[in-house]
Every structure is written in structure tokens, then in C-alpha cells.
Amino acid sequence: MSEPLLHVKDLVKTYPVKGGAFQKVLGTVRAVDGVDLEIRKGEALGLVGESGCGKSTFGRAILRLEEPDAGSVIFDGVDVLQLSPKELKGYRRDAQVVFQDPFGSLDPRTSVGDSIAEGVRVQGLSRKDRGRRVAEVLELVGLEPYHANRYPHEFSGGQRQRIGIARALAVNPRFLVLDEPVSALDVSIQSQILNLLKQLQRELDLTLLFIAHDLSVVEHLCDRIAVMYLGRIVEIASRDDLFSSPTHPYTEALLSAIPIPDPTVHRQRILLEGDLPSPLNPPTGCTFHTRCPIAEQGICDVSAPSLLSVNNGRHEAACHLRTGDHQDLNRPLLNSR
């Protein structure tokens, strides 16, 4: 087992919610609510959850694109949250990000080459070396060096996402956060980008945090998967364990909701009642208990469960009834309907 490249401890990121005529602070949203996570060298870790669960905020917070309120982010032995602005530059060389929207994340008035070179310019590379580096990374992502002189509007969605990846790779990072990198793309283009990411990860020995809402995409690319719900990780396991023996009822529901492109497969769906509760006013106890098909009153609405090991392995889930003190009350999900 390889050692962790990134170790996140008890990370918290809150946002004030303002309203009224004087923009008074009405409350705080705990977008990331005490997350512990290890990302090992060379692995691809998937972070999944529905919109508003805090997965993107988590990705931004560990890169310090947002300043977390509390916790620590240890990257290769150094706490990133304690870095001075100058030291942060070094971290920016090691850790890069690719965003979802390939249309919004490129400056329309800057040539593709200049966009890609910006990172290495900050690092102090000469003009000539920059040009060489741009050509290198363009070829790496399956584009041509002459594309450097063109502007974003001249490219299709898939090509723009390649440019976004090239820009992230230009500074030769070791760690890449991919925030829904294929959700905005067409099906036939998605597979091109997924294959490219897999190939790059191997060639460049990259460590990936892959943030997505689409479980089958994550399953294809990732070694381990963490499931997030309302700012917390509710389950984390190797890909195989998560798909073969999901333990948290939310994970089970998510898995059963993936549309399967095979009409001969008929499975029982676990339908969750209602919508994601407002993170401004999260439910007490286990935040999932309001939608959980097996929640027990007096247990699940009282205290928040912590992540505990399933069968003493590295598979962990946070559920009173599945891994906690009340495992005796555990009931299977599907038969309960």
C-alpha cells in the first residue's frame, strides 16, 4: 500500500448566508463539515454525491481556491493551509485543477497557447521554453502544437476540455483535482476524455481526485470511491467493495438509481423520499435520517454516526445501524419496501 500524498483532517468550510435589505448574516451553511480523507500516491480517488453535497467545495478548499475555516490539508508532509502566499506558489505547481465547463473556464480573448503558458510564466520560464512546453502538453492531450495560436471559440467542447487538461498539466503537477470533467460533454466525446485521463495518469504517475455525480464514470476511472452527503463522507471503500457490498443506505440508493443501459436488467430501485435537505438547517443526528428507509427514531435522529470500519477492513461507513452500536437493528433495504 502506498503512502498518502494528501492527508485531509477534519476540514470545515462554511459560508455565511446573507439576506434582507442590509445583507445581514442569516446563518451559515456548513458546505464541508469535518471531512477526513487520505489520497494515496498514484491512486485515483472518486468523490461522489448529489449537487449541493459539498464535493466541489471540498475540491476547491484543498487547493486553497477557497479558504477553509478549520482543519488541515497535509500535502507531502506540509500543511497547505499554513503556507504563505509565496509558498503557495510551490503548491500550485504540484496541485492543479480541471473544471467542468470547458466553455467558461478559458478566457475567450486569450490564445490557447497563452492560457496554457500562464502557469509556467508565473514559474519564471523563458518565452522560448514556454513555447516548447505548450507544444509538449498539447501533444500530450492529443492536440497539435499549431493549436496554440488559436482562440477557445474555434474548438469543440471535447477539444476545450483537452485544453483545460493541458493547462493543468503544463506546470507538471503531481496531483490533479478533476471537477466533473466530462459532465458537459457528449457521450461519444466523454469516452475520449476518460481514456485520455486514464492514460495520462499512468504515463505521468498522477494522483487524481475525481469529483463527479455519475457513479458509472467514477467506477470506470477510480481505484477508491468516497460518497459524500451534506458535507460529510458517509462511506469510503475500494471500487470493488463499494459496488459489491455498499454499506451506507445512501450509497445503496445511489447505486440503485444509476440507469443501466441494459433493458434486460430489472432491479429493484430504492426510491429516496423527498429532496436533499437544506444545508442551512441540516437534520439532527445522522443528516440522512430524514430520507433513510431504515432510520430508527431515537437513534438516527439523536447523534451523528462516525465513519467506522466494515468487517475490520479499509472499507468504512458512517451508519448507526450498519457499522455503529446498533448493528443488531440492521434491516436489509430492499425487502423493507
Binding site: Q192, L194, A257, D262, P263, T264, L272
Partner: protein, 334 residues
């Protein structure tokens, strides 16, 4: 022309051509589409962005606006050609006998009216009900589409609804007048997976309980597999393959369909690499001569077919209710 015999067709589109006359040239968004939807049938219309699937559905409702124009074809609704109707007659069909739901539920609702009053309006217009009776029926409809506490939700404004809830309101509104045909354009794309599953199940229930025919337009093959009875695959303005859902997924014939199915990561899929369709969708102004998929087609090269770049393939029947537009399946093609 080959047509699959569908009992009791509600909608029959024949040779539809919808073109957009832009400054750069004529965009042939829909170029000779035939589609049939039977009573109580769910037809999946799949394809990638720009293939013409949404323009097809907008043509059915005659909502194509300048510079677009339906230049050719017939759209028979219960045997009556919608393209021959006056605008007034068309209005009595839209929202009454054929209705539509869209991808962005929140954006498709009017922000200054409550959800209930927007549904009630359908009753006021199409059934000439008074406001009070309309509101009562709106609440009833909200309950039917599975909205908890429908009285309270009826008084909510669109911004107070979550995405899944807003889509249910859209569906309630679309169903209010009891349409015979519902067109759902990417109905779940903007929703989360767990909510998406709820909406898919709701649409299936609607068909089972009310016998409504549904066209589901989507780019997501998973959704089609779950909900559709029959699937039409569209590429660059044409239907390239059509079959019963089980057949299409078990025996896809067209190289594009095969590529699409191979390119999606499946649940439980442990393939090292996903299949890739090289290149991209052709420019609809400057379409390749011959088969429109030919420039991206690996199967054509393997088979060494010349005809693909020379002639436009016709839809051919290869099996009962399975048609494909490809020379690979045409005897004697070279």
C-alpha cells in the same frame, strides 16, 4: 421506405425536413425523418447534441421559429396533418392533446405565478373552468405526480421549488389537459441521480395508468434502456437505426449505435479502455456526401466499402421491426 407496423399510431412523421436558413448557409437540422409512435408507447429518441432530436420535437408542435422552417414532410396526429392546420387550430392541440416538458424545469416555469395557478391556467384555457375549480384540479394533479403536501406546494413560487419538484410541476402541467402525446425533452438531465430515478418511474406510471404515448428525447442511453419500448437513434439530422429497446441494446447494427453503446461506462464494467468514436459530428451546413457517419466509421474501412462516401444509404429492414441506415447490411453493396 420502410415502416414498422405500429398498431394504432398516435403520431406519424413522414419525410420531415426542418432547415434553418442562416447567413452561413442552410442548416439541415432535420433531414428526412420518419417516426411513428403507437398508442401508449414510449419511444426513445437518442442522439448527441446537434443531431436534430429537439428540432424534430419542436417541429411536431410547430414551434420552429425564424430562420427555421419546416420545408418538407407530413406530421400526422391521429391521421390529421398538423402542418396543414391554421395557427388557431394548432393552439388548441398544443398543451391540450400534445404537450411537452423541457430540460430546465425551473426556467420553464413563469417565476411570477405560483405553481398551482400555472397548472390551473391549463384548465381555465382548455376546459373553460373557473379559477376556483381550476385550482382544485391543480392540487389534485400535483398529488397525482407525487408531490407531498400538494395544497402548500400549489401556493409556492417556482424559485421555492427544488429541481425535482419543479420537474414534477412541469409534468403535472403537461398532463393537466389529459394529452394523448407527451414529448419529454431531456426531462432528467438537469436532475440528480436519485431524483432522476423518481421522474423515470413517474413517467412510466403515467403511461401505464393513463395510456399516454410518450416520446423521450435524451442523450443518455441508460435512461432509454430503462424507460423506452422502442428506440430511434438519430445522427446528423437522420434516423440511423430503429428497433425495440431490447433488440437495439442486444444487437445494435449501425456502427454509430455500436460505438455509442461501447463508449459508455456500464455499471460493473471492468473494461480497461472505453470504445471511442473518432472525430466529431459533421457540420450540418456542409454535410459529407454519401453516408453522414462515413468519415468517422471504422466498420466501413474494415469492410472496404466504397459506396459509403458516394451514395446516401436508405433505411433498410433487417429484421422484424429493426431498421438501419447502413450499407453494411445491404446486399451487394461495394
Amino acid at each position: 421506405m420502410t415502416t414498422t407496423a405500429i398498431n394504432d399510431p398516435v403520431l406519424e412523421i413522414r419525410g420531415l425536413e426542418t432547415h434553418f436558413f442562416t447567413r452561413d448557409g442552410v442548416v439541415k437540422a432535420v433531414d428526412g425523418v420518419n417516426l411513428t409512435v403507437g398508442k401508449g408507447e414510449i419511444l426513445g429518441l437518442v442522439g448527441e447534441s446537434g443531431c436534430g432530436k429537439s428540432v424534430t420535437s419542436m417541429s411536431v408542435l410547430r414551434l420552429i421559429q425564424n430562420p427555421g422552417e419546416i420545408v418538407e414532410g407530413t406530421i400526422l396526429f391521429h391521421g390529421e396533418d398538423l402542418l396543414g392546420l391554421s395557427e388557431k387550430e394548432m393552439r388548441s392541440i398544443r398543451g391540450d392533446r400534445i404537450s411537452m416538458i423541457f430540460q430546465q424545469p425551473v426556467g420553464s416555469l413563469n417565476p411570477v405565478f405560483t405553481a398551482g395557478s400555472q397548472i390551473a391556467e391549463v384548465y381555465e384555457i382548455h376546459e373553460s373552468l373557473k379559477k376556483k375549480a381550476g385550482n382544485a384540479k391543480a392540487v389534485e394533479m400535483l398529488e397525482k405526480v407525487g408531490i407531498p403536501d400538494p395544497e402548500r406546494r400549489a401556493k409556492a413560487y417556482p424559485h421555492e421549488l427544488s429541481g425535482g419538484m419543479a420537474q414534477r410541476v412541469m409534468i403535472a402541467m403537461a398532463l393537466a389537459a389529459g394529452p394523448e402525446l407527451l414529448i419529454a425533452d431531456e426531462p432528467t438531465t438537469a436532475l440528480d441521480v436519485t431524483i432522476q430515478a423518481q421522474i423515470i418511474d413517474l413517467m412510466r406510471e403515467i403511461r401505464n395508468d393513463l395510456g399516454t404515448s410518450i416520446i423521450v428525447i435524451t442523450h443518455d442511453l441508460g435512461i432509454v434502456a430503462e424507460i423506452a419500448d422502442r428506440v430511434s437513434v438519430m445522427y446528423a439530422g437522420e434516423i440511423v437505426e430503429e428497433a425495440v429497446t431490447e433488440t437495439l441494446f442486444a444487437h445494435p447494427k449501425h456502427p454509430y449505435t455500436r460505438g455509442l453503446i461501447g463508449s459508455i461506462p456500464l455499471a460493473g464494467d471492468r473494461r480497461e479502455w472505453l470504445e471511442v468514436i473518432p472525430g466529431r459530428v459533421p457540420n450540418l451546413i456542409d454535410l459529407p456526401g454519401g453516408c453522414r457517419f462515413a468519415p468517422r466509421c471504422k466498420a466501413r474501412e474494415e469492410a472496404g466499402l466504397k459506396i459509403c462516401t458516394e451514395q446516401r444509404p436508405e433505411l433498410i429492414n433487417i429484421d422484424d421491426a429493426h431498421t438501419v441506415r447502413c450499407f453494411l447490411y445491404q446486399e451487394g453493396a461495394k
